[in-house]
Symmetry: C2
Subunit: 339 residues, 2 copies
Amino acid sequence: MRDYSIGVDMGGTNLRIAAITTEGQLLEKITLGVKVALGRDYVIGEMCDAIHRLTDQYRGTGRFVGAGIGVPGIIDVEKGMMRKSANLPGWTDYPVRDEIERRLGARIFLDNDANVAALGEKWLGAGRDADNMAMLTLGTGIGGAIVLGDKLFYGMSGMAGEFGHVTIEPKGVLCGCGNRGCAERYASATAVVRMAREAIESGQAPELAKAASSDPEFSAKSVYILAIQGNPDAQRIFERFGEVLGILMADLVNVLDLDMFVIGGGVVSAWDAFAPKMFAELRERSLVYAASAPEDATAKKEGASAQIANYSRKKTIITQALLGSDAGLYGAARLPDLA
Amino acid sequence: MRDYSIGVDMGGTNLRIAAITTEGQLLEKITLGVKVALGRDYVIGEMCDAIHRLTDQYRGTGRFVGAGIGVPGIIDVEKGMMRKSANLPGWTDYPVRDEIERRLGARIFLDNDANVAALGEKWLGAGRDADNMAMLTLGTGIGGAIVLGDKLFYGMSGMAGEFGHVTIEPKGVLCGCGNRGCAERYASATAVVRMAREAIESGQAPELAKAASSDPEFSAKSVYILAIQGNPDAQRIFERFGEVLGILMADLVNVLDLDMFVIGGGVVSAWDAFAPKMFAELRERSLVYAASAPEDATAKKEGASAQIANYSRKKTIITQALLGSDAGLYGAARLPDLA
């Protein structure tokens, strides 16, 4: 008998549902082309039907311990409700968890998508050997989560890990959160496109301009492709991205001193375009990182950091996520088992 | 019978030693005019003699559970050794804890002065009702510590809480740590004096210039006195201090979402000169703070933050430390009981 749980990932265009054993083995994964735009009641109905099918299917396998659901937005984990979500307006002030619990007669857990992705990477991905880790999800913004031991660190109001809104440039670009110069204004897919548009408007980036005018779906990926093809304007955008991400990482290492930071999300595929600059900034800026960084990183530094380095046994690891978009599914499935 | 422990605070000019019950009641406090400059062996000898005197004195009171020692510098808590300390060069690479344990025949704990101060405030000071808190100690630099539940959060290499080295101005003033624009380059006693000297050199701050030339001990306190007397140049320095501290606090609230942040250290006495600007920045910049801040703080904000505010039950508290220089003594005395 192998106990199992259900993980649900509620993306913008797909609803993905997986049955996963409590040891982390995938039994079955279902992808439904259910757009969240079709409305709350419809989506919840489709979700519950699919979960029912899976629990019927695996009834003989073991005990069904419950389901976890990862959703984009700010979640009140205790209440199992959504506080705010840009893409799911009809979901706030609605008892999502309790309604699904009622329909399924099982324990349901609702959490933020960045949180469940971190939990997935900690359980079965890049962070499986880490004691404590944080994850940054680079997408339209920067999602963040902190996992201490096996548990998510929520903070007082469930909002710990808002890494994307750390101030990098006090007088910088205005952010939707009300702040200026937030990290995610420079190191996200949205930011790459903004910086590309600014370069185009300046009239100094002809290849970017050509790509943007010929491609109706001009995106961060388009800029990345130009960068790896050697276009200096596109490269400069990812260098700025890496610089800001490096400053953010230096801040996080100095504040948290975790053994691992995992970077995931769609834009992580541009790793080779931004990571060298990110690591360079990090080494220059974080005494805590320098204290644990390999020889080549600390050799350049003199004084305090180099001295401390001699005493440090362990190394801060900053690495790419391993599970891709499945991280959230695995992490969501982990929620019932951790509760 | 009341069990008790010993707390030791190793400052630069005094060695303070206190016997404190495990319930937090002070039995006796000794202040020795022992300068750490007199050398490691001498200081350790005087410290052990004083601890012996106290344990003899309170032998009948209860069980002596051990001693905690707060020292300035970077400590290897597991090894009970100092890694690095600007003021205690002869102490590194020396088994401080083991040597004192050997002499006293009791359990000894060595920790960083910012850490024990935080532990003291959490136990008996401003943070006594907080679940989780961080403390910032504003002095020559910015010391920092994170307390989750009753325990210090050390991070991987004991360096969690290096708040003073969070980057505020990426192209700003060079810091001893190798970074540029660290928070403590703008929000510490050292920074106040630097900013005052710069204002004097610009020839635009006559009252500061007069104060500096007439006072051989011109300090952050001198600048503060001018500020409360209404001098605009001195006020501007503390506004810049508050601005940078506000950006740092916004970053910390966004990353950690703790219920309480306690600000202590010598410069906290200038609270009225820097705090208004600090809170203004914090409200403008942290969506997590705005989500938990009182009405007047969020009223100005529109959109996301204001919406989130409606759902938040608790409030992030940012407040002054209560125990002054005794925080470290109490916190150090707490170490044996938490181990």
